[in-house]
Subunit: 138 residues, 2 copies
DNA sequence: CAGTATTTGCAAATTTGTCGCAATAATCTA
DNA sequence: TAGATTATTGCGACAAATTTGCAAATACTG
């Protein structure tokens, strides 16, 4: 994991610094996080400006990417680390759950795009609704 | 169209005001717009704060919703007005093309979500790649 | 049309994101 | 491993985006 991080950084000529490791640590193995969350979780260690710069750099290096979710966007590590997946966003509690990619669905998405004379290279699917917990009868 | 707008507003107890009609007019039958664009197009008629309040209210009333295009978000009328569709984003020329919803794909998306114990209420699919024009051999 | 509740504009505040620059930390080579 | 060379950070000041309180204006009801 850290080796992949180091490799992706090196590929772009970026160095592996302490702040970058800290931000990576905040993202690894967690739900996608808002900027405010990342800034909050690192507040005593890294300056806000550095967090913004780090996330932008992570995006350019293919280490992290942003999910646009309704009002806020959230950051997560790319599929290099997490595998390709989609997201379920609970409109009640605000949590974001990963939805492992289904090969048949993936194929269909590419097919639909191709039939519209479009050459698909990637996609993002965000599903909104109620998570198991929030749809329980009260 | 205006009748639908009026109905959706009334359903929530909101009134049909001049500023709301103006914002609706800016969105109707156009490409999704950024906040900056909407604010710009209405600058001489409506205050910025009112635009923000109107868009939020439109979202709550199911009149408009935020669309996730790369870094900035854009606003478009909901499927009540536009029909349900997805988007093809050309990474070469930057254009956004509507992709009419395919019933089989829609079903599969709901199914996949349900199987993950999630109650789907809507979704957003953004496909990135090359449009017909940009994938032509040069 | 008057009465009542909602909505607007305005100005100020807050929140979010950006920038320049001197100090610091990482990398590279010997 | 030290020293030279770059890249990166923190800080503080900015700039942009969004929110808020409140008095005045507007829409809705009957
Ligand atoms: Mn994810
Ligand atoms: Mn659209
Ligand atoms: Zn939930
Ligand atoms: Zn194109």
């Amino acid at each position: 994991m850290i080796n992949t991080l180091r490799a992706l950084l090196k590929q772009k000529g970026y160095s592996l610094t302490k702040p970058r490791l800290i931000v990576f640590g905040v993202l690894a193995g967690k739900e996608p996080q808002t900027m405010a969350e990342i800034i909050g979780l690192t507040a005593n260690k890294i300056d806000r400006a550095t967090v913004y710069r780090t996330i932008e750099l992570f995006e350019q290096a293919g280490i992290a990417h942003r999910l646009n979710i309704g009002f806020k966007y959230k950051i997560e590590l790319t599929e290099v680390f997490n595998g390709h997946h989609h997201h379920l966003h609970c409109t009640a509690c605000g949590r974001t759950f990963p939805l492992p990619a289904n090969p048949m669905l993936e194929t269909m998405i590419d097919t639909v795009a191709s039939k519209a004379d479009f050459a698909p290279r990637g996609h993002q699917l965000e599903i909104y609704g109620l998570c198991q917990n929030c749809s329980k009868p009260s």
